[in-house]
Symmetry: C2
């Protein structure tokens, strides 16, 4: 493998669009929640692993999550990453029952992230955290984070205490993102207690499979419920090659239309754009976080669109330099590779 360098000598900058960090306040709240006997089982599985496991990988991940300075930038340099688009790591504050505390932690995370972005304006760009448990306050925080702190997206780590963004109680959040013209990145979370049973039993609740189930379903709900008809300009971002929705696209269209025709579900009405795939192609951006695999990248570019597939690394959870090299080596015209690694991100995040 040739050395990976920043600076764009290969013909494009590498902008990694789904990179994670944490804050001391969040870790503190997580530790308290881990002691709650009624804590969400997926939360206990996921955060319990990274906070308490003594294995080399979880310890390294947990350490790097909490760095927004030198260690992170050294890792970026080593892997040839010019810029990270940063979001508060899963499940962030989504698991906290106290909406006030959740809001405060999200707001402090935005302040911390904004400070890091100011210190390293050529290396970091921020996505705003928020606590939809208090939707009006979350909407105000999105406005503040975008207009005052320079954030260029909103990140929401899937379900909020078992509820999804198609629930009208969260409308203010979607309205704010649409009004501020920033995408919402729906990042994975473990499934809520009402869904995690057989996944957790088999050890499949996390990134190996359950994350995709949870997050693909969340995104699909925004389409089939008509939520994106209520917020037609809203753009949704999904990592992990679109959480498999591009691969399901034909079946989603066929069965959605059959379901709408039959009136089987009260919650599934005709959509303005008719087909699920029209939303995937017009309201979604997809990143390859965790999937440094040429066949899947090309498949998504082919069926969703070359301008809607972006590079991501998933640092610090998954960041082998070999994966950067594999994406560099894709058999793809340089101009398309530049859109993938650089210019799509520059457009979406207004860099």
């Amino acid at each position: 493998m040739t050395e990976l360098k920043t600076g764009g000598a290969q013909g494009y900058l590498r902008i990694a669009t789904e990179e994670a960090f944490s804050t001391p306040e969040l870790v503190e709240a997580w530790k308290e929640e881990l002691d709650n006997p009624d804590a969400d089982p997926g939360f206990k599985s996921l955060v319990g692993f990274y906070i308490t496991h003594q294995g080399e990988r979880p310890k390294w991940v947990f350490d790097r999550l909490q760095d927004l300075g030198e260690k992170r930038i050294a890792d970026m340099d080593e892997r040839g990453i010019d810029r990270q688009i940063l979001g508060l790591t899963s499940p962030a504050t989504n698991v906290l029952r106290n909406a006030d505390r959740a809001s405060i932690i999200a707001e402090m995370a935005n302040d911390r992230l904004a400070e890091a972005c100011r210190a390293h304006p050529d290396r970091f760009t921020g996505m705003a955290a928020c606590a939809p448990q208090d939707a009006d306050r979350a909407a105000k925080e999105i406005e503040r984070a975008v207009s005052k702190l320079g954030m260029r997206a909103v990140i929401i780590n899937s379900h909020i205490l078992g509820e999804y963004l198609d629930n009208p109680k969260f409308s203010a959040v979607l309205e704010a993102a649409e009004a501020m013209d920033v995408p919402i990145y729906i990042h994975p979370n473990t499934s809520p207690a009402s869904m995690i049973g057989p996944l957790l039993e088999a050890g499949l609740d996390g990134a190996i499979f359950g994350f995709g189930v949870e997050t693909g379903m969340h995104a699909l709900r925004l389409i089939t419920s008509g939520t994106l008809d209520r917020f037609p300009k809203l753009q949704i971002m999904l990592g992990h090659m679109g959480e498999a929705l591009p691969y399901w696209m034909y079946r989603l269209d066929f069965m959605h239309q059959a379901g709408v025709r039959s009136g089987r579900y009260e919650v599934m009405k005709p959509l303005r754009k008719e087909k699920v795939s029209n939303y995937l192609r017009e309201n979604f951006y997809i990143t390859n976080s965790g999937v440094a695999w040429e066949p899947a990248v090309k498949f998504a570019q082919n069926v969703i669109g070359m301008d809607r597939v972006l590079y991501a690394m998933d640092y610090p959870y998954q960041c082998p330099a070999e994966e950067v090299a594999a994406m560099d080596a894709m058999d793809m015209p340089l101009e398309d590779k530049k859109r993938f690694f650089q210019t799509n991100a520059e457009r979406v995040f207004k860099l």
Copy 2:
């Protein structure tokens, strides 16, 4: 669209490998179970729809499910289908708490299906039903159905009262399929009560999305639990383009290996073939039931193997003639199209 004809004039026969039927005994048992106040919520959603809904599509589907003669063959002729590989439709007897009754219904279904296959040996091939609720009896029925009735596969409609085939209680079933050298087709079912919550709430529990979640997870459990190391010759079939597992393959490998290294889960031990993808390429066949979509067919052929992707229609649930024409029209060498439509099925089902 040119007329679709049987007989192979296009250079191959069309063998549809995931086609459904039902029996009067099964429908009777379903109707009783629908009256059970504790019935599985996914079962009520799925079977309740097809049995009671007065819409055109569910009525037509329910009628055709119960025909193993003239109407079915006329539909096949009209769509250019030379042969159907038939399985007892979902959720079959998997939802019945009385193991004895479930076994009897499965055995009677096999007798009925065998009779239809004898009456139309050039048009129908059978997959054996069984009721894993009584695993030893199910194993004996698989032996009988293969050796005496000429069945060429076993069909199991995913979870059995909330349990999965990696549970050692079902070992006799897997052992019988391996010993009789027939694949097990894991057909979708709705997710069990412990998983269906947010899917059902959003109307996504069925074929549009939940089926894939349930069935992909079931198949993955057989790999990650080490079950396929206990039955290394066993072949598993999946419809719907592999329930998205081919698209997830890179992430499955990466996160499975990370999980095994960390020892995070007691149930996730190192595997003999090391990578999840090795099992997908050596122990799985994939059909395109419900997904008449060239990009997904080619993707799976590319990453799983040309000899492991088979044609299916999903009759009577999804059977527009246009879908047959779309598959005929794929931009693919005739020899590969023949493997897809005909010779892979001939080899797998020993036709």
